[in-house]
């Protein structure tokens, strides 16, 4: 059986028995490509009026289909198709009588492999190619039609520019070819993975288990390790975890999907970004070829007697069994650890032992195709379970010293820190290693301060210095060692050890990167001033807006220069917030103006915005309402309003020499009585302060909500259950008061509710 004639006859003969897969492939590809194209592009064209914009939208939808939509719809068919043809194409190797027939006929094994391989590939490729070609033809026709319709329209300069950016027919063809390449590589990855599994196994169940284990096993274990790190390492920075890409390549099923995602992402990122697709595409192609080569070798070496058996190849079976058992054990640990309310460590170990041993035994049964084989490898089972417990304890007790790792002082090159609380920029930073991420813009080389900070955060867990009034901040830290190696950690900063962090946060490097407004930053289009519910909006293009922007920026930078620690400690009342925004949502700043920021306050006053730069005057206030929040009737009976108020406002009970003060005796005489407001089924308990002296006293404490009031290790948390009612139209302003700052006499008044 060496002649080409016989080869093609054999292919035809083989294909006759796979006609059902071919029919499925044709149907699937028809639905995924031309039908999908007609649906996605046809809908819009009927609804839109003929304008340059509408035609542009339609053109984009055509281009988008060949670079984006078909990746999703065609990708589903390619990946599912690869699995189906891979697992079914060589199904004869699973049946003894079929093996006897096919391996006794005068056909070389490599010829048989090639015949089956080609048929499997063509079953997907030819229908897809046909459907893509047909759709491309439709797409090109549509582009021509849209250009013809454009001919009747009168365009201005901007519209002509937009039209010049329309994709040409050549762009569409190139785009379709790149998509075809991406889908082909993804198909080959999954196809060869399935073929390798088939060649190693004696039946379809084992082949499916092997395909899944090899296809997603490595990345599953990787993510479970990451979950363990997140669960047990306080300082672990998930986003900085390396190895994801490498591991994804070791998991061909995931890698194929990732490749398609990259193709779609490259399109979304705009023209010229295909470069980010080519690298992974080449790597995946090489992996696919390697898998194909392995599948061929496994087929050549495959003993015929493997048919109807399980998985005999020990070098594949045992690592796979251990990997699956490890993944199951780690999942079991995490699951039982999460649901166990007490003795969680014991539950975690129980989960690891249960899931690990059950999965190991089930794999034994599957691989041996024998229920009695569930304890075939007792020693290995024992070792695997022991390894799972050890791993769990390793993370649980941090035996590696991950959280407390402190490099030698002389090895530290520089440190960068970032805390979103201490930053006036808004931005979306997905990739921590992206140079645009703020952490990569700070380079603090004051090794004394750096080492003091690192010592402070690694030597103590912070529990002994925690203050309940303050929140614990997690500061993202990047430590770069001499030699270029670096690592990322989240260090916890509590009120007790904040000073070491303050030295870094108030360093010029940090302030420049995260607070200072550069002179060249003329990109802002809008200014919003916020004080409570009062908002003032200005456009920067107006003279008034430009002047205010320049004055505020200069004053803000001056305050930063003179009192940098004010920006970290944020002491005093918050008067207002200033939002500077541009066209791009990534380019936004949010300046908080505290009463200690003299220059900024002055700048606001000088430019006619004094009301944003000072507290509300006592004479303007009708009353101040202190709320306990909404409470439902049933809940109210069980709670002591004073205790609730203490919890809510953070006011602790004072101790006297005789113990706690008698509440009735300490209650001062007051004129304002608590009252209730009914809202639907709930009631809001509100203490209304109308006494002028008390209003003045409270106004001294009040900050004005800015929508971004934040506490942390440096500034007290705020209680936002405070409302100022103005005399003017009884307008209500939601404001806040520092946690624990409310005088106790107000708390005690809630006792009369």
């Amino acid at each position: 059986m060496t002649s080409k004639h016989c080869f093609f006859r054999l292919m035809r003969e083989d294909l006759r028995h796979k006609i059902w897969v071919l029919v499925l492939s044709v149907l699937g590809n028809m639905l995924a490509v031309p039908v999908c194209y007609l649906i996605s592009t046809g809908q819009g064209s009927r609804m839109m009026r003929v304008t340059v914009q509408s035609l542009t939208v339609q053109t984009r939808s055509v281009a988008e289909f060949f670079s984006y939509s078909v990746i999703i719809s065609g990708g589903i068919i390619a990946v599912c198709g690869a699995l189906i043809v891979g697992l079914s194409g060589f199904r004869y190797v699973f049946h003894r009588n079929m093996v006897d027939t096919y391996h006794s006929i005068p056909v070389r094994r490599r010829t048989l492999f090639l015949v089956n391989w080609l048929n499997g590939f063509f079953i997907w490729f030819i229908p897809f190619l046909f459907c893509l070609g047909l759709t491309l033809f439709l797409g090109l026709g549509r582009l021509m039609g849209l250009r013809n319709r454009l001919g009747g329209l009168v365009m201005n300069g901007e519209e002509r520019f937009i039209v010049s950016l329309w994709p040409a027919g050549g762009d569409l063809i190139v785009s379709a070819l790149i998509t075809l390449l991406g889908l082909t590589v993804a198909f080959l990855l999954v196809y060869h993975l399935a073929l390798l599994a088939v060649m190693l196994c004696g039946n379809i169940l084992n082949a499916m288990v092997t395909t899944t284990s090899l296809g997603v096993g490595a990345i599953t274990v990787y993510f479970l390790f990451r979950l363990f790190c997140e669960q047990y390492f306080d300082t672990f920075v998930s986003d900085a975890a390396t190895g994801y890409r490498g591991v994804s390549y070791a998991s061909p099923l995931v890698s194929a999907i990732m490749l398609l995602y990259r193709r779609a992402a490259a399109f979304e990122a705009g023209a010229g970004n295909e470069i980010f697709f080519w690298g992974p595409c080449l790597i995946n192609l090489l992996i696919a070829l390697a898998l194909g080569g392995l599948a061929f070798l496994a087929y050549q070496k495959r003993p015929s007697e493997l048919a109807e058996q399980g998985l005999k190849c020990r070098p594949v079976r045992l690592p796979m069994q251990v990997m699956v058992s490890l993944a199951a054990g780690m999942s079991g640990w995490l699951l039982f650890y999460a649901i166990g309310d007490s003795a969680r460590l014991v539950w975690g170990i129980f989960g690891a032992v249960l899931a690990g041993s059950v999965s190991f035994c089930v794999m034994d049964i599957i691989f041996h195709m024998d229920f009695k084989a569930f304890s075939a490898h007792k020693i290995l089972l024992g070792l695997t379970v022991a390894a799972q417990i050890f791993l769990g304890l390793l993370f649980y007790h941090d035996w590696t010293g991950y959280d407390s790792y402190l490099p030698d002082r002389e090895k530290i090159e520089e440190v960068a820190v970032f805390d979103h609380i201490h930053c006036n920029k808004y931005g979306s930073y997905y990739d921590i290693k992206d140079e645009m991420h703020p952490i990569n813009k700070v380079h603090i080389r004051d090794i004394d301060a750096v080492y003091t900070f690192l010592q402070s955060v690694t030597s103590s867990d912070g529990s002994d210095t925690e203050d309940q009034l303050y929140e614990t901040e997690r500061i993202l830290t990047k430590v770069t060692l001499k030699g270029g190696r670096n690592y990322y950690k989240y260090y916890s900063i509590s009120h007790g050890n904040k000073e070491a962090a303050c030295a870094l946060l108030s360093s010029p490097e940090y302030l420049d990167a995260n607070f200072r407004i550069g002179r060249g930053e003329g990109r802002y289009a809008m200014i919003h001033l916020y004080q409570g519910d009062t908002v003032k909006e200005l456009r920067v293009e107006t003279p008034e807006g430009r002047e205010l922007l320049e004055a505020v920026c200069e004053a803000y930078n001056q305050d930063l220069e003179e009192k940098p620690e004010n920006f970290i400690h944020r002491e005093g009342r918050l008067f207002c917030s200033i939002s500077l925004s541009g066209e791009n949502s990534d380019n936004r700043r949010y300046l908080e103006v505290y009463e200690g920021m003299e220059h900024t306050v002055e700048a606001l006053q000088q430019h006619g915005y004094a009301e944003f730069a000072e507290p509300i005057k006592t004479e303007e206030v009708s009353e101040i309402q202190l709320s306990l929040g909404y409470r439902y009737a049933d809940a109210e009976k069980s709670g002591d309003p004073v205790e609730i108020a203490r919890d809510l406002y953070g006011v602790r009970q004072k101790e006297s020499a005789d113990g706690f003060e008698n509440r009735a005796e300490s209650a001062e005489t007051y004129s304002d009585l608590p009252m209730t407001k009914s809202v639907n089924t709930a009631e809001e308990y509100v203490l209304c302060i109308t006494d002028e002296a008390e209003i003045r006293e409270l106004l001294e404490l009040i900050s004005y909500n800015s929508g971004r009031s934040r506490g942390g290790a440096f500034r007290l948390n705020s209680v936002d259950q405070v409302t100022i009612v103005l005399k003017d139209d009884r307008k209500e302003l939601n404001v806040n008061i520092p946690y624990g700052a409310l005088p106790e006499k107000y708390i005690l008044r809630f006792g009369d509710l």
């Binding site: 016989c6 003969e13 009588n97 006897d100 027939t101 006794s104 005068p106 015929s304 007697e305």
Partner: protein, 300 residues
């Protein structure tokens, strides 16, 4: 000619074939007999190139068979559970065999299908077990292969069909030197078909002989003797393999030429004697007992 030299094959811990030698001449029907699990199917699968021996070699017409299409064109293997396409017809199977066997004779196939009364367009899954066996044999005969390896093929055939197949084999042997190799655990089925037989037991071939030679040289002697002295003379003078008795009736298996035995018995002059031919089973029992095997325990 098929030459098997010291082949071995194991499945996990089980030694299926252990250091087997065999030589199968062309143009004869070779029977491979053995108990269940003796390794017949494994031996046949190795002969057909399905399995690869772990040790030793199998040469067919001087060339190794494994993954050698040129040699495999000379072999057609009918397994004990022959595969047919699901919902396929005999015509579908022929398409496959015609693709693989260049010498496949479609006209002969049509002719034989007609003679055996098998419908070409009927689905094979509606065929009886015997009909499937017939179809396999017909396909094998028509493939043009020189060696037809039949594993338990005659199990499902009725006596009439067995004779028909035997006739077919004889014709093919005469016409083109076909060499059928038939594996079975049923000696009676092979007795009237095979010329040479090999006994396979526990992975090894115990013996390999021409049936006619075996039949000519071994006989069953039934006799009634008057005195014990006669029995001693029989023991001393004849090549006695086994002696059994029911009262005064003795059944003695003896080797040697028929005429010589008759001459001796005439001189001995017992009350009664009769010389009977042995069945294949009896021959094998006798032959293998000589080699120290308790074949009665093996075969019955």
């Amino acid at each position: 000619m098929i030459e098997v030299t010291k082949i071995s094959k194991s499945f996990d811990d089980i030694k299926a074939i252990d250091n087997v030698n065999a030589r199968i001449e062309e143009g004869h029907v070779f029977g491979l007999i053995g108990t269940n699990g003796a390794g017949k199917s494994t031996f046949m699968r190795m002969l057909s190139g399905v399995l690869k021996p772990e040790a030793g070699e199998i040469l067919i017409d001087g060339e190794p068979v494994y993954d050698n299409p040129a040699i495999k064109e000379k072999i057609f293997y009918i397994s004990d559970d022959q595969y047919f396409f699901k919902s396929g017809t005999p015509g579908d199977m022929v398409k496959l065999y015609r693709t693989c066997y260049p010498a496949f004779d479609r006209e002969k196939w049509k002719d034989l299908m007609g003679k055996f009364g098998l419908e070409k367009s009927r689905k094979i899954n509606t065929f009886s077990k015997g009909m499937k066996k017939q179809l396999s044999v017909i396909c094998g005969i028509c493939s043009g292969a020189k060696y037809l390896l039949c594993d338990e093929t005659f199990d499902g055939l009725d006596p009439v069909m067995r004779q028909a197949v035997k006739g077919l084999f004889v014709r093919e042997i005469d016409e083109r030197g076909l060499t059928p190799v038939i594996a079975s655990h049923n000696l009676r089925e092979l007795e009237d078909i095979c010329e040479f037989v090999g006994l396979l037991h526990r992975g090894g071939i115990l013996l390999e002989k021409d049936i006619d030679d075996m039949k000519l040289n071994i006989h069953k002697l039934q006799c009634v003797i008057r005195e014990e002295e006669m029995l001693q003379k029989i023991r001393r003078s004849l090549d006695v393999v086994t002696i059994d008795n029911r009262g005064s009736l003795y059944m003695v298996t003896v080797r040697g030429e028929k005429d010589g035995i008759i001459e001796f018995m005439e001189l001995l002059n017992p009350v009664f004697y009769e010389l009977l031919p042995l069945s294949l089973e009896e021959i094998f029992i006798s032959e293998t007992e000589v080699k120290g095997y308790d074949v009665k325990a093996l075969l019955f």
